[in-house]
C-alpha cells in the first residue's frame, strides 16, 4: 500500500548532520556538496599503521609540509561531488562528441593543411603521455592528501586527465592510425625535444608530499602547458593556418582548463592565506618547478612556434606569474 503523504506537514528534528552544522555554524539545510564532502575522511582512532608507510597514520596531515589548522578550509568553488561532477563532464562530453562527429563527417581531418597535420602529430599526440602521468599523480594526491575537501577534487582530476589522454588518442586515430600513436610514443621516449619534459614528469612521480605534487602537476605544469598548447598554439597559431578543426577536437581541454584553474587558484590562495610559512613554501615550489617546466616546454613549443617560441613562451610564463600573484603567491 502506498499512502500519498505529500499533504502532511511535519516539523523536522534537525536540518542537517551535526558535523555539518558545526562547520556551517548553525543547524540549517546544507548542500549535497557539503554533506558529501565535509568530514568524510576518518580522523581518529585508527587501528593500524600502513604496512607500506609505518611512519604515518592512514590519513596523515604530516605527509605535507603545508600546515593547515583545518583542511576543510579547502572548498571546491565548483562544488563538485560525484553527481555534480559526472553531470558536468557528461555535458562537455556531448559537446566533444558533436565536435568529433562534425570534423569526421565533413572529412575535415583529411583536408587539414599538411603543416598543421604535421604539427599536431609531432606536438599534440605525445602529450597523451603527459596526461597519463597526471592521471597517476592526481591519484597519488587523492590517496595521500589530507581531508576530503582537498583529496576529493583530485580523483576527479585524475580521471579527467585519463579522459584527456583518451581524447588525444582519438585525435591521433582520426588523423592517422595506430602507427601515429606508436611514432609519438617513440618521440616521447627517445627524441631530444621531449626528454626535458619526460624527465620532469618522471621526477614528479617520486614527489612524496601530496601538496607539492598538486603544485608541480596541477598548478605549474598544467598552468604552463595548457595556455601554451591549447590556447596559444592550437586556438591561435594553428587556427590561423587553417587548423580550426583541431581546435574543435581539443575544445574539451580548453574548457576543462578554464574550469579547473579556478579550483587550483582557490586551493593555492587558501593555503597561502593560512600562514607566512605556507606562503614561503609555496613560493619556493612554484618558482623552482616553474623554471624547470618552462625550460622543459621550450623545445616542445618550438615544434609549432619556431622563431616566436621565446617570445610566446615568455608571455605564457608572465601570465602564469600574474595568476599566482593574484592567488597570493608572488613569484
Amino acid at each position: 500500500m502506498h499512502i500519498d503523504l505529500q499533504t502532511v506537514s511535519i516539523k523536522p528534528l534537525r536540518h542537517t548532520f551535526d558535523n555539518i552544522a558545526r562547520r556551517i555554524g548553525a543547524d540549517k539545510p546544507a548542500t549535497r556538496y557539503q554533506e558529501g564532502t565535509l568530514d568524510m575522511q576518518q580522523t581518529a582512532n585508527f587501528h593500524y599503521r600502513p604496512t607500506w608507510d609505518p611512519d604515518h597514520d592512514i590519513y596523515d596531515a604530516s605527509r605535507s609540509a603545508i600546515k593547515m589548522a583545518d583542511w576543510y578550509a579547502f572548498k571546491d568553488p565548483r562544488q563538485f561531488y560525484y553527481g555534480a561532477y559526472t553531470l558536468a563532464r557528461a555535458k562537455q562530453q556531448d559537446t566533444a562528441e558533436a565536435n568529433f562527429d562534425f570534423v569526421e563527417s565533413r572529412g575535415m581531418a583529411a583536408n587539414l593543411p599538411e603543416s598543421v597535420r604535421d604539427t599536431v602529430l609531432k606536438l599534440l599526440i605525445p602529450l597523451r603521455h603527459v596526461a597519463w602521468g597526471s592521471n597517476m599523480n592526481n591519484a597519488a594526491i587523492c590517496a595521500y592528501g589530507y581531508g576530503t575537501g582537498f583529496s576529493q577534487p583530485h580523483i576527479f582530476h585524475s580521471m579527467d586527465q585519463l579522459g584527456i589522454a583518451q581524447y588525444i588518442t582519438r585525435v591521433g586515430l582520426l588523423l592517422g592510425s595506430v602507427e601515429v600513436l606508436d611514432d609519438a610514443k617513440k618521440s616521447w621516449v627517445e627524441d631530444d625535444t621531449w626528454q626535458g619534459l619526460r624527465r620532469l614528469v618522471e621526477d614528479s612521480m617520486v614527489v612524496q608530499d601530496p601538496f607539492e605534487l598538486f603544485v608541480v602537476q596541477n598548478v605549474v605544469l598544467d598552468g604552463l602547458l595548457y595556455p601554451l598548447v591549447y590556447e596559444t598554439i592550437i586556438d591561435d597559431v594553428l587556427s590561423a593556418q587553417g587548423g580550426t578543426s583541431v581546435a574543435m577536437l581539443t575544445q574539451f581541454m580548453t574548457d576543462w582548463f578554464a574550469e579547473t584553474k579556478k579550483w587550483a587558484d582557490a586551493t593555492v590562495k587558501i593555503a597561502a592565506a593560512e600562514s607566512a610559512e605556507n606562503k614561503e613554501i609555496l613560493a619556493k615550489w612554484i618558482g623552482e618547478w616553474r623554471d624547470r617546466a618552462a625550460a622543459a616546454l621550450l623545445p616542445v613549443a618550438r615544434i609549432a612556434l619556431g622563431d616566436r617560441t621565446d617570445e610566446l613562451m615568455g608571455e605564457v610564463v608572465q601570465q602564469f606569474n600574474a595568476r599566482m600573484t593574484k592567488a597570493g603567491v608572488a613569484v
Partner: protein, 517 residues
C-alpha cells in the same frame, strides 16, 4: 560506410588497449622501484603486467555518459521521495534502525574503499589494473555520497544518525567494521585487492549489499532501494575486477598461491565476522523479513561461493577452512548477536527490542534446530522482564576479540552452550580471541594486531570521556561520559525501541496522514 573507413576502425579490444595501455611507457629517469615502491614487500611476483585481461572496457567518455544518466535518475527519485515524506511509508519505525546501522557502519567504509582504490590505482605498474582501480575509486566515493544523500532526509526526522562520522571513529561496535577496512587499507596493495576486490566485493557482497537493499525494498524504503539498485552496475564491474585480480596474481607465479590462499582465508573470516551485523539485521531488525541469515548464507555462499572455489581449484586454491566453522554457526550467529545488542542497548546509536510472538514463530520456523531450544527461552524471559518494568541493560563492559573486536559472545563450534575463548601470550601481554581463526590471523601478524584501538580497553584507560572529564569525582557516571564522547544523547539515540522518540514521532506523523485529526 565505405570499406576505406571500415578498415581503419579498430576492434573494441584494440581500441581499448591504445586508450589505456598505449599511454604507458617504461621510465628511465627514475627507477621503477622508486615510482612503484610497494610492489615487492608482500612477496607477490608479477612477471608480465601485459598478461592482464581487462575485465571491462570503459573509456572515460562512456563512463561519464553512463554514470551521469544514473545520477540524474537516482537524484530525481530521491527528490520525489523526500518531497512526499516517503519515510512515513516504511513498514514500521523499527525499520529505521537498519538505516542507522547502515550509515554509521557501512557508508564510511565506502569512503575508505575510495581512498584505498586510489592508492592501489596509483601503485600498480600495470596500466590495465591501474585504470580499473581508479575507476572503482571514483565509483566508491559515489557510493559513500549517494548513501549519505539518501540518508540525509531520515536524519532530519529520526535519531541516532546525527553525528555518524564521529560515531564511526569511536562507538564500540563500530570498531568492528572500521578495523576491518583499516586492516585492508594498511595491508599492501596486493593484499588490499584480495581483501576488498576479491573477498569482499566478489565473495561477500551479496551477503552485505543485497540484504540491505532488498530489506529496504521489502520495507518501503525507496531511498535506500534506489541507491542500491543504482549501484548494481558499478558492483558488477567491481566483481569482475576482483575476480580478474585473483586469477592474474595466481597465474603469474606458483609462489603466489600460498600467499593468496592465506589472504583468502583471512579475509573470508574477517568479512564474515563483519557480516554478524547483517545477520542480526536480517533476522531481527527488518519488520518485513526478506530471508533468514541462514538461508542467505546457504544461497550466496555455500551454493554460489562453492561454485567459485571449484573454479579456482585449478590454480591450487581451496575453499577457506573457516567455512566449516561458519556452517556450524549459521543456526546461532544472529541470535547471539541480537542478544548482545539487546544487552548493550544503553551504549548504541540505534534501538533494540525483543521480537513479538509472530516474529518468534518466524524464527522458530527458520531455525528449527536452534531457536526454540536455545534462544526463545532467554528472549521470552527478557520480554517478560521488560513488561514488568525491568528492561535489562548490561553495564559491564565485555572482553573483546583482539582481531575482529566483537565481544566474546560466540559459542564453541558445535556446542552452543559454551562460550568460545582463545588466548595468546605475546611479549608482555595476553590477548583474547573469539575463535581459532581470529587467533591465527593475530599469530600471523602480531605486530599489526597489537596496535588495534580496542574500545573497551580505551574506555577503561579513560580515553573515551570528553576532554576535561574528571573520573575521580564522586558520583561519576562512566556510561554517561562515554555517551558524551560518542556524541550520543542518552534516552534519545539509545535504549529500547519501546518508548523511544522515534516510535512516538512516527506514530504521530503517520497518524496525521492516515486519520482525521
Amino acid at each position: 560506410m565505405d570499406m576505406q573507413v571500415a578498415k581503419k576502425k579498430l576492434g573494441l579490444k584494440e581500441r581499448y588497449a591504445v586508450m589505456t595501455r598505449g599511454l604507458d611507457w617504461t621510465p628511465s629517469y627514475q627507477k621503477m622501484e622508486d615510482i612503484y615502491p610497494y610492489m615487492a614487500y608482500e612477496g607477490i611476483k608479477i612477471h608480465d603486467w601485459d598478461k592482464w585481461e581487462d575485465p571491462f572496457r570503459l573509456t572515460m567518455d562512456a563512463y561519464w555518459k553512463y554514470q551521469s544518466e544514473k545520477e540524474r535518475k537516482l537524484y530525481s527519485v530521491l527528490d520525489a521521495y523526500i518531497q512526499s515524506n516517503g519515510h512515513l511509508n516504511v513498514t514500521d519505525a523499527r525499520y529505521l534502525n537498519t538505516v542507522k546501522l547502515f550509515v554509521s557502519g557501512i557508508s564510511p567504509l565506502e569512503y575508505v574503499a575510495h581512498r584505498g582504490f586510489a592508492h592501489a590505482g596509483r601503485q600498480f605498474p600495470g596500466p590495465g589494473p591501474r585504470v580499473a582501480c581508479l575507476m572503482q575509486s571514483l565509483d566508491e566515493i559515489r557510493h559513500a555520497q549517494t548513501q549519505i544523500h539518501a540518508v540525509s532526509n531520515y536524519n532530519k526526522y529520526y535519531n541516532g544518525m546525527h553525528d555518524f562520522h564521529h560515531a564511526h571513529d569511536r562507538v564500540w561496535f563500530l570498531s568492528v567494521p572500521k578495523s576491518f577496512f583499516d586492516d585492508a587499507i594498511t595491508a599492501g596493495p596486493f593484499e588490499f585487492m584480495v581483501a576488498i576486490g576479491f573477498s569482499f566485493e566478489y565473495v561477500l557482497t551479496n551477503l552485505l549489499f543485497v540484504p540491505f537493499v532488498s530489506g529496504a525494498a521489502y520495507n518501503g524504503d525507496m531511498g535506500t532501494m534506489t541507491f542500491g539498485f543504482s549501484a548494481q552496475s558499478d558492483e558488477a564491474r567491481h566483481m569482475t575486477l576482483g575476480l580478474e585480480v585473483i586469477k592474474f596474481i595466481l597465474q603469474q607465479d606458483p609462489a603466489n598461491v600460498p600467499i593468496v590462499q592465506r589472504w583468502i582465508d583471512k579475509w573470508t573470516w574477517r568479512g564474515y565476522r563483519v557480516l554478524t551485523l547483517v545477520a542480526m539485521m536480517m533476522d531481527y531488525m527488518l519488520p518485513k523479513r526478506t530471508m533468514s541469515w541462514k538461508e542467505a548464507w546457504e544461497v550466496y555462499f555455500e551454493q554460489n561461493g562453492g561454485a567459485l572455489f571449484k573454479d579456482l581449484a585449478r590454480y591450487g586454491i581451496t575453499i577457506p577452512k573457516c567455512t566449516e566453522h561458519i556452517a556450524l554457526e549459521k543456526d546461532h550467529l544472529s541470535h547471539q548477536a541480537w542478544g548482545t545488542f539487546y544487552n548493550y542497548a544503553a551504549a548504541t546509536n540505534f534501538h533494540t527490542w525483543m521480537p513479538d510472538a509472530d516474529e518468534m514463530e518466524w524464527l522458530s520456523a527458520k531455525y528449527p534446530e536452534s531457536y526454540d531450544k536455545y534462544y526463545r527461552p532467554r528472549m521470552e524471559f527478557w520480554r517478560e522482564e521488560a513488561a514488568k518494568g525491568n528492561r535489562f541493560y548490561n553495564k559491564t563492559l565485555p572482553m573483546l576479540c583482539q582481531t575482529c573486536q566483537i565481544p566474546l559472545v560466540f559459542t564453541e563450534p558445535g556446542d552452543p552452550t559454551k562460550i568460545c575463548y582463545r588466548e595468546v601470550d605475546y611479549k608482555e601481554d595476553k590477548y583474547h580471541f573469539c575463535s581459532d581463526h581470529c587467533k591465527k590471523i593475530f599469530e600471523d601478524e602480531p605486530e599489526k594486531y597489537v596496535q588495534a584501538w580496542m574500545p573497551v580497553h580505551q574506555i577503561y584507560q579513560g580515553n573515551c570521556f570528553p576532554e576535561g572529564t574528571d573520573p575521580t569525582v564522586e558520583g561519576f557516571d562512566p556510561l554517561a561520559a562515554v555517551m558524551k564522547y560518542y556524541h550520543l544523547e542518552f534516552g534519545r539515540d539509545n535504549l529500547d525501541f519501546e518508548g523511544s522518540e522515534d516510535q512516538k514521532n512516527f506514530a504521530e506523523w503517520r497518524g496525521q496522514a492516515t486519520k482525521n485529526a
